[in-house]
């Protein structure tokens, strides 16, 4: 059995490593496809054992969480957990130091993997049930505070010049208003999808997938296509400009943010990173990029790991939600298997990082990355159509409209997470059904 687990983990890690460098392609979309394939095989009488598909999926998630740093920094196409990495990452890219930015984030992923396997995993069965018991009754107001914090930290980006008056006031509120409008529209969008998704009921488990593709992946691809920005020549080297203090700061900050996001419902790695960054007074860009690497690894792999904690009944993150449809963890055997898979997949992905990052740079320097973004756009849209049909494509287009607002008006893309945060916060406060009823969605 152990050979199958290792083999499946390696296959998952290698598969995801190839797909991770495509901008906008999310691992959860791929897991949805894998599930459909497993069901199709089962209907043909070819059952696949859990000792194969569980490590395969774990390998994919961990490898993708590590290697997706490449398109996030080099192609500017982040997922919802890497939104904050883009600005410092873009700066590194425009300075010709994209490779260095990628490797600092990789260092964070490595630290995150160690944190997860050596610290969080051994403690989780003992500590998490207690933590869950303590905060279970408080999650709703914690989520509302997070929403408040996200909205309040959106700041006016204009209104500094010109005569005082309505025009200056409007200029100041333009980006801020765009941010608030994005959150409100995303929240409404989320309510529609959670209560009355137009996607066919046959693939309802992927209800939210077209929305995430529309909100996060497509806008960046479109912007890359419409933008005329050129990537300067990139420099690669053998050393990284980061010291021990920044590494430690990044590790603590990212670890806290990722763990919180993996444990708390509706909070993603990006939000966790934002909260932890503020909590730990993070100012150093290097520490920031590293912390985002840590946060991303701990968030994606941690949420998956928590699903297997024997003493805990916790389903967080897309991978766990997809898995629980067809598998229920059964004790420490599964738990140790997943820990092992995470460690192997993280090691594989980190070894793959240098050649893949260099290969990506080689491609980016030679091929206009607008073509790359166009290709990625076609693949993603095709995948959405393949899984959810025309209705899914329509949902994706609406999401694209909302996702473009912060990009084009200079507000935070994090506001797009209103798609999850608002309905979840309302539901956790027992207001979801009332709100949906008032909207005529029940």
């Amino acid at each position: 059995m152990i050979h199958i687990v290792i083999l499946a983990t390696l296959i998952g890690a290698l598969l995801a490593s190839l797909l991770a460098i495509l901008p906008g392609l999310h691992v959860y979309n791929l897991l949805g496809l894998i599930i459909l394939m497993i069901y199709a095989l089962q209907e043909q009488g070819l059952a696949i054992g859990s000792e194969f598909y569980l490590p395969l999926m774990a390998g994919m998630v961990v490898s993708w969480a590590t290697l997706n740093t490449i398109p996030s920094i080099l192609l500017g196409a982040p997922d919802e957990s890497a939104l904050f990495m883009v600005m410092p990452g873009q700066k590194y890219l425009m300075e010709g130091r994209g490779y260095e930015g990628v490797m600092i984030a990789t260092l964070g992923s490595l630290g995150g993997a160690f944190l997860l396997v050596c610290v969080i995993a051994p403690l989780a069965p003992f500590l998490l049930p207690i933590i869950q018991e303590v905060i279970a009754a408080h999650m709703h107001w914690i989520l509302w505070i997070i929403i408040t914090f996200i909205l309040m930290t959106e700041w006016p980006k204009g209104g500094e010049h010109g005569q005082a008056g309505w025009r200056k006031f409007g200029d100041a509120w333009k980006t801020l208003g765009a941010g608030l409008a994005t959150f409100a529209l995303s929240g409404l969008y989320g309510f529609i999808l959670l209560y009355r998704s137009p996607v066919s009921v046959e693939v309802a488990f992927q209800n939210i997938m077209p929305a995430f593709v529309g909100l996060f992946a497509i806008p960046w691809c479109l912007l890359d296509i419409f933008s005329k920005a050129q990537i300067p020549k990139q420099v690669t080297g053998d050393s990284l400009d980061i010291d021990g203090d920044a590494m430690l700061h990044g590790l603590i900050s990212g670890g806290l943010g990722g763990s919180f996001a993996a444990f708390h419902p509706a909070v993603t790695g990006g939000v966790g990173g934002l909260l932890a960054g503020h909590a730990t007074n993070q100012r150093d860009e290097r520490a920031f990029i590293m912390s985002q690497g840590v946060s991303k690894m701990v968030y994606y792999a941690g949420a998956l790991l928590f699903f297997f904690v024997p003493t805990l009944d916790l389903t967080r993150g897309g991978a766990a939600w997809i898995m629980q449809n067809f598998y229920q963890p059964s004790g420490y055997s599964d738990y140790f298997m997943i820990i092992g898979s995470i460690a192997i997949a993280a090691a594989t992905a980190i070894f793959m990082m240098i050649p893949l990052a260099k290969a990506s740079l080689w491609i980016v320097e030679r091929v206009n990355y607008r073509y790359l973004s166009g290709t990625a756009l076609l693949i993603i849209a095709g995948m959405v159509f393949g899984i959810t049909g025309w209705r899914g494509v329509y949902v994706m287009l609406v999401g694209t409209g909302i996702g473009l607002l912060p990009v084009l008006f200079g507000s935070r893309r994090l506001n797009c997470l209103g798609v999850l945060l608002l309905p979840m916060a309302c539901n956790m406060s027992n207001m979801g059904d009332k709100f949906a009823s008032a909207l005529g969605l029940l």
Binding site: P198, S227, L404, L441, L442
Partner: protein, 500 residues
């Protein structure tokens, strides 16, 4: 690796086309219409402006269209067995029948949620109803009961290795067609009906109330035309006093309950206090009108008849009266040819039978419920009116006290159950439980005279003595291969002094 950088410009700025840089400060401004560095107004190219308008249109009009599309789409009705894991979170409509009474979870008396089992012809699922919806359903009298038909719209929640679950979002999404429970008699009950909602009417025969603070249920033995069935229920604390008042032995009660099995026995489980309808204390005429099954021979009665209400005929062979103060029932043995059955009746019935009471040797016809007690069949006589005598008293006297004295040798086992009169000398007595046996001998043979202490007065029995001559009339019985003559009353015995 780190290169020297200017404070104002990025290294890559030299590579950028002019229209993504601010013409005033020269820094990268991207798609913005106002430079984030110097605040200059930037006249953007058409493609960026178009993208903005497209984004606003897509976001607002698209969302409005999505809203209209979602609210006007028909929710698909699906058979339960077609629910696949890929349908998780999907909104579907299911039509089916309620399998059992809803389980309502309460904490400190407050409703938390309810779980309702729904089944169609293809499978079953659990419908979860949140607190507010449960209250709405109760207020609108739409909380489904076992057996009702519902059409419900909800969101699926599917987990591996578990039954499909569905969440009801609104009480308005549940359409209900009430189906009254099946009216049954206890004789119609079988294990196939387990879990079904049934309605039964009968007379309260026995009430068993557990000790205070016990978790055990209250038990009522409800008797109807076909037999007796135990009804169990757990009354709430505040209702117990009311139940104690209303639950009266002999009272007529209609219950709506689900059939369950406990320790291998079928019983009815009442879920709600309102499912017990007290119909008052009946006269005997209020008992179920159904006629008992007649024409059944005693020899044909088997354990399969347990609980059935039968009418049987036979001759009373013996009667056993319980000791004073005892809670044991009266017992009589009814004989039909060589077949016998014990008739059981309680003091209240015995008193009402009164003077015309059950007497040894009388042929009678009685109706009662067949029961098995300690492995033996017995018939329970519940009402005096269920007992009818077939022969007149005069005939009976002739039968039990025949004038002709036979020789003991003429008695034959084949005449068991008939009345004879014999004469002879009494032998050494042998005590048995509840009586004494004297052997009676003449020149032709010997027969045992069985004297039941509850049938004969002490004075009569004390007349007997070893060596005395006695003339005894009674019913001939065969007990373990031995002939026994059983006198029923004192006047059936005449004692003469023994010859010295």
């Amino acid at each position: 690796m780190k290169e020297e950088l200017s404070n104002n410009t990025l290294l890559g700025d030299g590579y950028q086309p002019s229209d993504i840089k601010c013409p005033n400060c020269g820094q990268f401004s991207g798609p913005r219409s106002r430079c984030q560095h110097c605040g200059s107004s930037l006249n953007k190219r058409m493609s960026i402006r178009l993208l903005r308008y497209a984004a606003i249109c897509l976001a607002t009009l698209g969302l409005a269209g999505l809203y209209l599309m979602s609210t006007h789409s028909q929710t698909p009705t699906v058979p339960i067995d077609s629910i696949e894991p890929t349908m998780n979170f999907g909104r579907v409509c299911v039509e089916g029948k309620i399998l059992a009474e809803p389980y309502i979870k309460k904490v400190k008396g407050k409703i938390q949620y309810a779980v309702i089992k729904v089944a169609d012809k293809t499978g079953q699922l659990s419908l979860f109803v949140k607190r507010n919806q449960v209250k709405s359903l109760i207020e609108s009298d739409k909380l489904p009961r076992s057996g009702d038909i519902i059409k419900v719209v909800g969101s699926l929640n599917l987990t591996a290795n578990e039954e499909a679950k569905m969440y009801l979002r609104s009480a308005e999404h549940l359409e209900l067609k009430r189906i009254p429970p099946r009216e049954i008699t206890s004789g119609m009950i079988s294990r196939d009906m387990l879990g079904r909602d049934l309605s039964l009417q009968g007379t309260i025969q026995k009430i068993r109330i557990p000790e205070p603070k016990s978790n055990r249920p209250w038990k009522i033995d409800l008797r109807d035309s076909d037999g007796t069935l135990t009804v169990v229920f757990w009354p709430k604390d505040h209702l117990q006093k009311r139940f104690r008042k209303r639950l009266k032995k002999g009272g007529l009660l209609r219950v709506r309950a689900s059939l369950t099995s406990y320790a291998g026995k079928l019983q009815l489980k009442v879920e709600q206090a309102s499912d017990m309808e007290f119909l008052g204390t009946p006269q005997t005429e209020d008992l179920p009108k159904t006629e008992p099954k007649s024409g059944v021979k005693i020899g044909d009665i088997t354990a399969d008849h347990e609980g059935e209400w039968l009418t049987i005929k036979g001759v009373v062979e013996s009667i056993q009266v319980p000791e004073a103060g005892s809670k044991a029932p009266h017992k009589a043995v009814l004989r039909q040819g060589d077949d016998r059955i014990t008739v059981v009746y309680w003091d209240s019935v015995a008193k009402k039978i009164g003077e015309q009471g059950l007497e040894t040797g009388r042929e009678c016809c009685l109706s009662g419920v067949i029961d098995i007690f300690r492995g033996e069949l017995q018939i329970k006589l519940a009402r005096p009116s269920d007992l009818k005598f077939e022969t007149k008293t005069q005939d009976r006297e002739t039968q039990t006290n025949p004038a002709q004295i036979l020789e003991i040798g003429e008695l034959a086992a084949t005449s068991s159950g008939e009345a004879f009169q014999v004469s002879g000398i009494l032998g050494t007595p042998r005590s048995i439980r509840g009586g004494v046996i004297y052997p009676l001998r003449d020149e032709t043979g010997s027969v045992s005279i069985l004297l039941w202490s509850n049938q004969l007065s002490r004075t009569t029995i004390e007349q007997f003595g070893e060596g005395k001559k006695a003339t005894v009339s009674g019913i001939l019985k065969i007990w373990k291969g031995t002939m026994e003559l059983v006198p029923a009353e004192g006047k059936s015995i005449k004692i003469e002094k023994a010859k010295e």
